[in-house]
């Protein structure tokens, strides 16, 4: 009944036996105990479960764990490196881009994918890129500010390390 899968999770190789129907988000949370990835809606609307698969943001409640076989998975836990916050994390704190913190990991992973693709997005581009992430606390104003601040900071320090397993 189980299927063996192997994938890289935040830079480390993981092999596991999983039921074919196991959702990736449950694999991440329950099996790997990486609880920074959250579940908010079950229907891929809220984005609390967003992680990167081969550098691309996916809603892990709408992906099966077996689909991650052979791929590179990056979750919020990998953003900070070497005891240092990633500029996106620092900017979310600095600009008060979070309140209850539940949507925050998903927001930051979406922001990460955006900035990898478009290092200098304007407000409209940020709002569009984050429109698959629901936040009920902030009204998005400070999240937009945080992404802009992170973008500025990342341009300043081009040497910001890319999280392990984030792909190209």
């Amino acid at each position: 009944m189980g299927r063996s899968i192997s994938l890289t999770v935040n830079g480390e190789m993981v092999t596991a036996d999983v039921e074919p129907r196991l959702l990736l988000v449950h694999f991440i949370r329950e099996r790997l105990r990486l609880t920074g990835t959250h579940i908010g809606c079950d229907t891929s609307h809220c984005g609390a479960c967003i992680v990167l698969l081969d550098g691309v943001p996916v809603k892990s409640c709408a992906v099966l764990a077996v689909q991650a076989d052979g791929r590179q998975l990056t979750s919020v836990e990998a953003l900070a490196a070497g005891g240092k916050l990633h500029p996106i994390q620092a900017a979310f704190k600095q600009e008060h881009g979070l309140q209850c913190g539940f949507c925050t990991p998903g927001m930051m992973m979406s922001s990460f994918a955006l900035l990898a693709d478009n290092p200098d997005p304007d407000e409209e581009e940020i709002r569009w890129a984050l429109s698959g992430n629901i936040c009920r606390c902030t009204g998005y104003v400070n999240i937009v500010k945080a992404v802009r601040a992170a973008s500025a900071q990342m341009k300043l320090s081009a040497a910001v390390p890319i999280p392990v397993g984030a792909g190209s």
Binding site: E30, C100, R136
Partner: protein, 784 residues
């Protein structure tokens, strides 16, 4: 390079939040993150019908699934007298249905299994034989003779009528209407919506079969009150119950009530001797837990021809669903709705409310609102807009003409509220100035000539928050005080323990700052603890914007208690008389000799090492604060919309928010609260709707149907402030969590109506969707 002096966190300083580090690194600790050894998982089977008699429940097939430990039905609970539970409004609610189901999504049976997937699979194998009954989903129909009786199990309940409640002076109001030159009326429906925090509700109940200790992790906005209710409902000894409310992923009122899932999980843990986890999925959250609003309102305003308000008359019908489970003070059946006179000096007012049972989910929670204040604010602000249309007056001028003036405070309203302070005109003027109101009106007139639709909407709201006073206000009989316990350690660091509970509001920072202000201990050195009933003093929790008004006041008062003792120690250390010791920003010094001083840290050390003779050691205390009055935050919101005649789409061009919440402790956090509230107000005004078909099927049971605003639709917000301190609050703060959700829906809708009123359209009920606007335009021949 010069380094900035780090902020200590005095009042008015926007220090960064202490709680953020764990959240941005994925290290928050929410209920669903908790895993205990041997933990079982629960899944709930819910009714597919809105109204049906249960003929039989067969659980054999479910029971036989490998991994299933137990199937719990209403009959099993009834054997333990747990099939029904009390609600926060003194009614009863079925935990698991025994006789019939009364709304779609009602809890019928639960499966407890070793794996959550197995629990869910097995729940689908339970066979329930239903006899479907006609459902009633409209409260007016529910009150007609012959309507299906929802609560046939209640003795003496022969109709669907729940209560009648009145406030104000009826005779005086009738006289005002008799004198009026004109009566303005508005009939409107504030539809059912749902708070929908991104984290749903959940519990891990862990009752030890050996000690009987019940450790309950739950998404609770009010852990102490919940402990007491668990003791009463489940018959557990209160000293053995420990409620732990860890990080909460947003509450907004949704996590105030006790839900059947909590009760069954706890009962199951008790019966099975193992921890049981239940976390709802989103559909369960939307179809069964605390909805909000669902108020049918008819308001009439007696006015003179030149726009002076003389009286206000309101009749309402509240749709309470199948169980009357409003979370509100017990004496106040319509919550604080009677604040409906708002910011206006209306000499006479009378409010009548009736409540009705229907075959819909129970609830009536105060969704980011202080007990029905949102409905009241919406009604009066829409009514003022209607009056401006009828009187052909500028809505800003009409408001201004009727505001309670600063010199009238403290002001007693016609329905009996004692307003503490306000400068309504000032907030309005600031909003108009920042918006460039006169220019906007000119632009609107020009656009109108070209057939373009542009609207400017105003709302000058007044809220009433911060319940107590405990003499009049309670939850399930518990007086609405709150508490703070402060311990200063020998090294001058402190721990502050509170009866309130953050769900994202930033308590760990804001409340530390109150201690900083009062004692001078830097906020970074004050650890704030909440959400653990064994380790915090009793309090009523966080909702109704009461944390800062009540818990914040308790924090200030306990800090002052400690300061008094610190002064005595300072006098001892400085060899001066206590009367000669002054305190300023963390330093105690001898009057006239500021060089002779001791810091709070030195005094804290002395409290454990070098005390005056006869003084008790330590520097700690606890305060239970019962506020003498509510606080009354206010503000003016101004919205500019452009409407497309071809599609009916209303695009919010600008949203200007002037808020006055008294003294702002951490302005950054306050502003964040306002942003969030405005976005929720925007969502309520334009998209968030829970509705039902004729058979009682919920049409809003997931995020495809129940629309929440994303970053794409949500407008940018321009925020401004005025500061009018509360005269009775120790630091002058009023509370801010809910103002924007209370005040903004009317501003959004008023903007839409302002754009189309000249075409003869005076009302569109929320949510004001494109299709509703287009239909209204089409009806008057103005759609393209």
């Amino acid at each position: 390079m010069a380094t900035e002096t780090p902020l200590k966190g005095f009042i008015g300083e926007s220090i960064k939040r202490k709680e953020d580090d764990r959240f941005i690194q994925g290290k928050g600790n929410y209920v669903d993150d908790i895993v205990l050894p041997g933990m079982l998982h629960m899944s709930i089977l819910r009714s597919p019908f809105a109204h049906a008699r249960i003929k039989s429940i067969k659980a054999d097939a479910a029971q036989a699934v490998p991994g299933v430990v137990a199937v719990v039905t209403g009959d099993l609970l009834a054997q333990h007298k747990l099939a029904w539970m009390p609600t926060l409004s003194g009614d009863t609610q079925a935990v698991l249905a025994t006789d019939k189901v009364r709304f779609q999504g009602q809890e019928v049976a639960c499966v407890i299994a070793t794996d959550p997937y197995v629990a869910r699979d097995a729940a689908q194998l339970i066979e329930v034989d239903y006899d479907v009954l006609p459902a009633v989903v409209d409260p007016y129909q529910a009150l007609e003779p012959g309507a299906p009786l929802v609560r046939d199990e209640k003795e003496g309940q022969s109709s669907n009528h729940i209560y009648h409640w009145e406030a104000g002076d009826k005779a005086k109001t009738e006289q005002a209407f008799a004198r009026a030159e004109r009566v303005v009326s508005l009939e409107t429906f504030y539809p059912r919506c749902h708070p929908s925090p991104v984290e749903t509700c959940g519990i891990v109940a862990d009752i030890s079969p050996v000690t009987g200790n019940a450790t309950i992790y739950m998404t609770s906005q009010a852990p102490h009150a919940h402990r007491t209710l668990f003791a009463i409902v489940a018959g557990l000894p209160e000293e053995k119950i420990r409620i732990l409310s860890p990080d909460i992923g947003g509450g907004f009122g949704n996590k105030v009530p006790i839900y059947p899932g909590y009760v069954v999980a706890t009962a199951a843990s008790l019966l099975l001797g193992k921890p049981v986890k239940w976390v709802e999925d989103r559909s369960e959250n939307l179809i069964s837990t605390g909805f909000a609003r669902d108020y049918h309102m008819k308001g009439e305003l007696a006015v003179t021809n030149d726009g002076r308000m003389l009286g206000l008359r309101v009749k309402m019908l509240s749709d309470n669903g199948a169980f009357y489970a409003d979370a509100q003070p017990s004496k106040f059946r319509a919550g604080l709705f009677h604040i409906v006179t708002g910011s206006y000096d209306i000499p006479a007012a009378h409010v009548e409310t009736d409540g009705a049972y229907t075959n819909k989910a129970p609830g009536g929670v105060a969704y980011r609102c202080s007990f029905r204040v949102t409905e009241a604010s919406y009604l009066i602000e829409r009514l003022v807009e209607t009056a401006a249309i009828d009187l052909k007056m500028d809505p800003a001028e009409l408001r201004s003409k009727n505001f309670i003036r600063p010199e009238q405070f403290p002001y007693t309203s016609a329905t009996g509220f004692d307003y503490d302070s306000g400068q309504y005109e000032k907030a309005l003027r600031l909003a108009l100035e920042k918006a460039g109101y006169d220019e906007l009106r000119k632009e609107q007139a020009e656009k109108r000539k070209r057939g373009e639709l542009m609207g400017i909407g105003l709302a000058s709201f007044t809220e009433v928050v911060g319940a107590g006073p405990g003499k009049h206000f309670d939850i399930a009989g518990l007086r609405m005080f709150d508490s703070a316990e402060l311990r200063v350690h020998p090294t001058g660091k402190a721990i502050l323990k509170l009866g309130v509970k953050s769900q994202g509001q930033g308590h760990e920072t804001t409340f530390a700052q109150i201690v900083t202000e009062e004692l001078g201990i830097p906020a970074v050195d004050v650890m704030v603890q909440e959400g653990d009933t064994d380790n915090t003093p009793y309090g009523l929790g966080t909702y109704a914007s009461r944390s800062t008004p009540v818990g914040g006041a308790a924090t200030a008062m306990v800090s002052r208690k400690l300061r008094d003792k610190a002064k005595k120690i300072a006098a001892h250390l400085l060899e001066a008389s206590e009367a000669d010791i002054d305190f300023d920003h963390g330093k105690f010094f001898v009057q006239g000799a500021p060089s002779k001083s001791k810091t709070i840290q030195e005094i804290a050390f002395a409290a454990y090492t070098n005390l005056p003779d006869g003084m008790e050691a330590g520097l700690e205390g606890v305060t239970y604060y019962d506020p003498p009055n509510f606080t009354y935050p206010f503000g003016t919101y101004l919205v500019v919309v452009d409407i497309d005649r071809g599609t009916g789409q209303a695009k919010v061009r600008r949203m200007i928010a002037v808020d006055d919440c008294g003294v702002r402790i951490n302005p950054m956090i306050v502003e964040g609260q306002i942003h969030g509230g405005l976005a929720e107000g925007f969502g309520i005004a334009f998209m968030q709707l829970i509705t039902f078909d004729e058979e009682g099927n919920c049409l809003g049971s997931n995020f495809t149907d129940y629309l929440l605003p994303t970053s794409w639709e949500t407008p940018n917000f321009e925020t401004y402030e005025t500061v009018t301190p509360s005269p009775h609050h120790p630091i002058g703060a009023k509370g801010i969590g809910e103002s924007a959700t209370v005040g903004s829906p009317a501003a959004f809708v008023n903007a839409v109506i302002d754009a189309v009123a000249h075409l003869g359209i005076k009302n569109i009920d929320m949510p004001v969707t494109s299709d509703k606007i287009w239909s209204a335009l089409h009806e008057v021949g103005a759609a393209e």
